[in-house]
Structure formats: structure tokens, C-alpha cells
């Protein structure tokens, strides 16, 4: 979806403000949210793409007004309710009012640290890769109303395949529970002026990682 989360190239947000000696968490609740997210992910409650899509569906002003972990918490609440893991009544009362839904597994303390490594998104290729390094491609001008990882600033643009990352689970289908639909994944490199016009920094090159369905030969 073309939400405010898709902010690459948007002007007006001001300067980047690094924080010296930044703590890992700014409040204890941030750590709880992070750990709950990882724990529910380990349990197989929903894929990471569904977490992102739930964040994207926050109202634009709410998205911009919330901190990173606040967005996570809001997205988690939404996924819990939408997927029937908890009711809005339970979240507002702060207690379970019904028994839970079965989950594939549960993250217990003995498994906690080993479960922290990221999972693999590699999948068995169904078809040979359509593109190889050096190939010229044009990204599609698509505007799906659901989750996609093709940012607006890089749609309908001419680029070059730089890396082939193998075949990966496809976020666009994962986010809406339509399976992992494995797709070849490429790093596609664009000249700055192709994305930002003739006044762009001439030394600038930008890449995205693009799934094969996002690309046409050029």
C-alpha cells in the first residue's frame, strides 16, 4: 500500500538527530515489546510481513506520531485481534477472558537465546532466475492496496541487476496469508538521476532488493 511508511525521498522531516551514548532501550516497556514480538514470531503466530503490514495500516498521523516500539505494540494488538488470538475486550481489560488459541510452539527460557537468530527466508526455486548481474530491468509501476516491498520512489524506473540473492519467501503474499510463493530476489541498482531527476547528485547510486515479480526486462 502507498502509505506514509513508504517515506523514501519524502521531504520535510528535518535533520537526523544522533543521540550520544544511546541506551539499548529508553524504557523497560520497549524491551518487553521487542521480546513479545520475537516470542510470538517463534510461536508461529504470524509472519514478520504481517507485522509490517499491520504497522502500515496505522492511520498516517498515528504512524508518524508513534515511536518505533509503540508502532510494534499497536501492530501486535492488531494482529492478535484480527487473527483471533485475543479480543479487544481482553486487551482493554488487561486479562485473558477466554482460553488461548493453539500455537505451533512456545518460547521457553531454555530456548530463548538460540531462538534469537534470524530465520532463513531462502526457499526452493521453482523456476530458473530470469535475470543475471548486469541485466537492465525496469521496475513495474504497481500500487497494490496491500503490503509490498517495492517502494514508490523506485517504481517504473530503469536499473541494473547487481546481485542475485537466491529464491526467497515473497512478502507481498506472506503478509496476507497467501503463502510464501518463492521468488528470486535481486539487488537492483539505480542512478541517482533516474530516481530523482536531472538535479540529483551525480555520484549517487541507490539500490533496492527487488523480487522478480517487481521487474520487467528493459
Amino acid at each position: 500500500m502507498d502509505g506514509v511508511h513508504d517515506m523514501g525521498g519524502m521531504d520535510g522531516f528535518g535533520k537526523v538527530q544522533p543521540e550520544p551514548n544511546e541506551p539499548v532501550f529508553h524504557a523497560p516497556w520497549e524491551g518487553r515489546v521487542l521480546a513479545m514480538q520475537r516470542s510470538m514470531g517463534y510461536a508461529g503466530a504470524w509472519p514478520i510481513d504481517a507485522s509490517r503490514f499491520a504497522q502500515e495500516r496505522l492511520a498516517p498521523q498515528a504512524y508518524l506520531g508513534a515511536s518505533y516500539y509503540q508502532r510494534w505494540a499497536l501492530a501486535m494488538e492488531r494482529n492478535l485481534i484480527e487473527r483471533g488470538y485475543a479480543g479487544a475486550d481482553e486487551l482493554s481489560s488487561g486479562h485473558a477472558l477466554r482460553s488461548g488459541k493453539p500455537l505451533a510452539r512456545k518460547l521457553t527460557p531454555d530456548l530463548a537465546t538460540q531462538a534469537m537468530t534470524r530465520g532463513s527466508f531462502y526457499r526452493q526455486a521453482q523456476t530458473p532466475a530470469r535475470f543475471k548481474p548486469g541485466d537492465r530491468v525496469r521496475t513495474k509501476n504497481i500500487h497494490p492496496p496491500t503490503h509490498t516491498r517495492l517502494p514508490r520512489y523506485a517504481r517504473g524506473r530503469l536499473g541494473v541487476i547487481e546481485l542475485v540473492h537466491g529464491c526467497h519467501a515473497f512478502p507481498d503474499t506472506m503478509a496476507v496469508d497467501k503463502g510464501d510463493s518463492p521468488q528470486w530476489l535481486y539487488t537492483v541498482m539505480f542512478e541517482g538521476k533516474e530516481l530523482w531527476g536531472p538535479d540529483a547528485d551525480p555520484t549517487l547510486k541507490i539500490s533496492i532488493d527487488a523480487f522478480e515479480p517487481y521487474l520487467d526486462p528493459a
Binding site: E19, G31, Y85, A96, T117, R118, S120, Y153, H165, L204
Partner: protein, 206 residues
């Protein structure tokens, strides 16, 4: 939740704190999560997983040409071979700075970041100013960090739009000939591995 409770004891709870506590209580009572496992995850990010892992990887690449080749060839495999206590998942890609090219990593769509080697991302990395500007005006972003590169240097921005994760391999500072890996690692800042900073100058390290 023991530590959590203790920290907040006697202080006024914000709406967010209350909401997150309700969430944890519901998930625990439903049997989905174990608060003791959460404690361990938090503890790991606070004490074990952080940019020191990436710094050791970079220092080894500076020190050992064979490792550097392996790292650039397959980041995940090379780092896993080091046998770090913090495990490294798939899809890590190391990208090398040279005098001709400077790499910067961003995630414009959310805030993807190489947690396994750098720990959790700083707030600025997740902020709208960084996410919006890094792909369009990276020299302006570098200026916000006090970094100025030659106008002729190619700026190469990597937008992490999939599950690949990028680690910048900065240039080894001159004046560090003969240094040990451990000493070199002290030069490697988190920002240098994101591309918004440069390694420390050798004189800053004892």
C-alpha cells in the same frame, strides 16, 4: 516481569506502559508467552548482542585478507565460521568502502537492520528524517553526522527492502599497520558499519 515491576515501582505509569503491561498479561494468561523467556531476550540485547560483534568482524577482515574475501563473498557464512556466541542468521551481505565508493545502509519502508552483528538499531536509524533522506540526499545526512566526503566519491545507498541485511566494511585507517585484531576492533564504530560514520582515527585508541 520481576525486574520490569521493580523498575517502575512507585513511579507514575504512562499510558503506553500500562498498555504494554496489559498486553503481556493477556499473552501470558493465554499461554502464548513465558515472561521468563522475555527476560532472557531483553538481557541478551542489553548485554551480549551489539556492535562489538560487527567490530570484530570488520577488524578481522582488515587483518586477514582471506577472511575479507570470504566475508565479501558470503557474509553469513564467513561470520558464522567465526563461532561468535551470538549466532548470525542468513542473508548478511558485507559491502566494502573504497577511496572511490562509500556505502550507506537504510531501510526506507520500516527499519530493517543487521541485528545479529550490530544489535538493535539506534533511534535515529528508525526515524523519519533518516529513512526519508538517506536515499535522496545522503550527503546531507552525512553532514548531520559531521561527515564530509570528497565530492568525487561515489555514494552507494543500500535500501534494505527485503530480508537481506547489509554491513558496511569501512576502510582501514592508515597508521594502524601491525595492529592486532583486538586493537583494530576498537576503531570500528557502529555508525561506521552503517555508513553514517567513519572509523575512529588511530590516535583515539590507546
Amino acid at each position: 516481569m520481576a525486574q520490569h515491576d521493580h523498575d517502575e515501582h512507585g513511579s507514575e505509569l504512562s499510558e503506553t506502559q500500562l498498555r504494554v503491561r496489559a498486553l503481556e498479561t493477556v499473552l501470558t494468561e493465554k499461554g502464548y508467552i513465558d515472561p521468563a523467556a522475555l527476560d532472557l531476550i531483553i538481557q541478551a540485547y542489553e548485554t551480549k548482542i551489539g556492535p562489538h560483534t560487527g567490530a570484530r568482524v570488520v577488524a578481522k577482515a582488515w587483518h586477514d585478507p582471506a577472511f575479507k574475501r570470504a566475508l565479501l563473498d558470503d557474509g553469513s557464512k564467513a561470520v558464522r565460521a567465526l563461532g561468535h556466541e551470538s549466532r548470525v542468521g542468513d542473508h548478511l551481505v558485507a559491502v566494502e568502502n573504497t577511496p572511490a565508493r562509500h556505502n550507506i545502509v537504510v531501510c526506507t519502508l520500516c527499519s530493517c537492520y543487521p541485528w545479529d552483528v550490530l544489535g538493535l538499531p539506534p533511534v535515529w536509524y528508525k526515524s523519519a528524517p533518516y529513512r526519508s533522506r538517506a536515499v535522496k540526499d545522503p550527503r546531507g545526512v552525512l553532514a548531520d553526522f559531521g561527515v564530509k566526503l570528497p565530492a568525487s566519491t561515489e555514494i552507494r545507498v543500500w535500501d534494505s527492502t527485503a530480508e537481506t541485511r547489509f554491513l558496511v566494511l569501512p576502510m582501514r585507517p592508515s597508521g594502524t599497520e601491525g595492529w592486532s585484531e583486538e586493537r583494530l576492533a576498537q576503531l570500528v564504530t557502529r555508525d561506521a558499519m552503517i555508513g553514517t560514520g567513519l572509523p575512529k582515527p588511530p590516535e583515539e585508541v590507546a
